[in-house]
Amino acid sequence: MKHITTIVLATITLITLAFTQHNGGVYKTNTGNISFFSRTPIEDIAAENHKVKTAFSSVNGKLQFSVLIKDFEFEKALMQEHFNENYMESTKYPKATFNGIIEDINIVEVSKNGTYTSKVSGKLTIKNVTKEVSATATFSVKGDIVNAKAVFNVNPSDYNVKIPRAVINKISDNIKISIDADYTHQH
C-alpha cells in the first residue's frame, strides 16, 4: 500500500511538473527583428523585418522562428518589389522558418537578471530549402523579458536564390543576418 501511495504521489508530481514546465517555460514575441545586410563594393543592400514571430522554451531549449518574407522593408520600394518578385518569390514561398535548439539552455537562467551566451543550432528553411546553421547567441535577462541577439551569414545560392549575371557584383554571396528579439514570458 505504501508503494501505491508513493507511485500515485510520484505521478501527480510528474503531471504537475510537466504542466508547469510547459506553461512556465515558454518565451515568445511577435515583434522580433531580423535585418540583413549585403555589402559589395558597388552597392550596400539592407532590409529589416520587425514582425518576426519567435519563441523558445527555457526548459528544453527549443527555439523557433517564423518570418514572413513580405514583411522585409527596404529603403527603396523597387528593391523591395524585386526582392519579393524575383529573388525570394514570396507568393510561392511566403515564409522562412528556423527550428533549432539553444544548446546550453541550462546556463541561461531566465529567473536571474544577467547576460548569458550559448551556441544555437538548427534547421533554417528558406524557399523550401533546409540547411543546418549555427550561431552564438547572447541572452540578456531583465525581469520578465529575455533579449536574444545573434548574427550569422548565409549564401543566397544555398537557398535557391538565383542572381542574374547582370547584378552578380551587386549582391554579396555572404549576407549578414542579425537577429534581435525581446521575448516575454508566457503565463
Binding site: I4, I7, V8, T11, L14, I15, A18, F19, Q21, H22, G25, V26, K28, N30, K53, T54, A55, F56, S57, V59, N60, K62, Q64, S66, K70, E75, K76, A77, L78, E81, H82, N84, E85, N86, E89, T91, K92, P164, A166, V167, K170
Partner: protein
C-alpha cells in the same frame, strides 16, 4: 496494482502530450491583409498607363520611342530613320498619388497628369478582388497654327483624357486591366466631329520568367466616333527588367506616345502591315 500501472501509463501519455505541445511554440497568429504587388512590371502596359504607381519620393524617368513603319523597307532601315519620341517622368507624391509631365515631338505636345490609386487588390482579412486608379491627363499642342491669319484661341490647343484603370492580378503571372477612357478635344477638324471620344483599353500581362513578361494592349473606340481613316491602337511587346531599369520593347500601330494621340489619332492599320517598332526605357531615381 494493475490498475495503478494503467493509471501511470495514462499519465505518462498525457504528460508526454503536454511536452509535445511545445514542439510547436508558435501559433498561427492574428489574421492579416496581404496586398497584391507587381500587377505590372512598370506603370505603363505599353502605350497606356497600368495600375502601377511609383512609390513616394521616387521619380521614374521615361524615354518613349516609336520608330517609323517596319514595312518601310531597307531604304528607311525598317523605320529606324523616323522616330516619335516622348521624354517625361512620373513622380510619387505618396505611394498612391502620382503626377507626371512629358513632352513629345508629335504635334509638339506637352502633357501632364495626376494619377490616384484608390483601391488595392488584397487577400486575407480584407478581401478586395481588384485594384483601381483614376488618371486625368491634360495635353497642350504647341505647333504653330496652320492658319495664323485666323483668330486662334489658346484653348484650342488643349485636350484632356480621363481614365479609370481597373486591374486584377489573376495569377502570379497573369494580370488583366480594363481602362474605360474619355478623350476630350477642345478643337476638332469639323463641326460634324464629336469633341468627346469614348473608348475602353484592354491590357494583358503574362510573365514568362521572373524578369520578362509579354504585354498586350488594345484600345477599342466606340463606333461612329473616329474619322474613317483612323484605326484603333494595338500593341504587343515585352517588358524586360534589369535592376533599376525596365525596358519595354514592342510593336504597335500607334505613333503618339500620349493618350489622346494613340487612342484617337492613330492612322496605321496592323492588317496593312503598318507596324512600328518602339521602346520605353524607365529608370527609377530616389529622392
Amino acid at each position: 496494482m494493475n490498475r495503478i500501472f494503467l493509471f501511470f501509463m495514462l499519465v505518462s501519455i498525457l504528460t508526454s502530450n503536454a511536452f509535445s505541445q511545445d514542439l510547436d511554440l508558435l501559433d498561427d497568429g492574428e489574421p492579416r491583409t496581404n496586398y497584391t504587388t507587381a500587377t505590372f512590371k512598370t506603370n505603363r502596359v505599353v502605350n497606356g498607363h497600368s495600375i502601377e504607381t511609383v512609390a513616394k519620393r521616387e521619380f521614374d524617368f521615361k524615354i518613349s520611342h516609336r520608330f517609323g513603319f517596319v514595312n518601310g523597307g531597307v531604304y528607311n532601315l525598317f523605320g529606324l530613320d523616323q522616330a516619335t519620341i516622348r521624354m517625361g517622368g512620373d513622380f510619387g507624391i505618396t505611394d498612391n498619388l502620382n503626377i507626371g509631365i512629358g513632352r513629345s515631338n508629335e504635334a509638339k505636345t506637352y502633357d501632364g497628369f495626376v494619377k490616384y490609386k484608390f483601391l488595392k487588390q488584397s487577400t486575407g482579412t480584407k478581401k478586395v478582388p481588384i485594384s483601381a486608379a483614376w488618371i486625368s491627363h491634360i495635353g497642350v499642342t504647341t505647333q504653330r497654327w496652320t492658319r495664323p491669319d485666323r483668330e486662334n484661341l489658346f484653348s484650342s490647343r488643349l485636350h484632356y483624357t480621363h481614365q479609370l484603370l481597373i486591374a486584377r492580378k489573376m495569377t502570379d503571372g497573369l494580370s488583366l486591366q480594363l481602362s474605360p477612357t474619355l478623350v476630350h478635344k477642345n478643337l476638332v477638324d469639323s463641326a460634324a466631329r464629336t469633341n468627346d471620344i469614348l473608348s475602353i483599353g484592354i491590357g494583358v500581362r503574362q510573365k514568362i520568367t521572373n524578369r520578362i513578361s509579354i504585354n498586350g494592349e488594345y484600345f477599342y473606340v466606340l463606333p461612329n466616333q473616329l474619322e474613317l481613316d483612323k484605326a484603333k491602337s494595338l500593341s504587343l511587346g515585352f517588358d524586360i527588367e534589369t535592376g533599376g531599369h525596365v525596358f519595354q520593347l514592342f510593336f504597335t500601330n500607334a505613333a503618339a506616345p500620349f493618350e489622346k494621340g494613340f487612342i484617337t489619332d492613330t492612322k496605321a492599320k496592323w492588317l496593312d502591315g503598318d507596324i512600328r517598332f518602339g521602346f520605353n526605357i524607365a529608370r527609377m531615381f530616389n529622392f
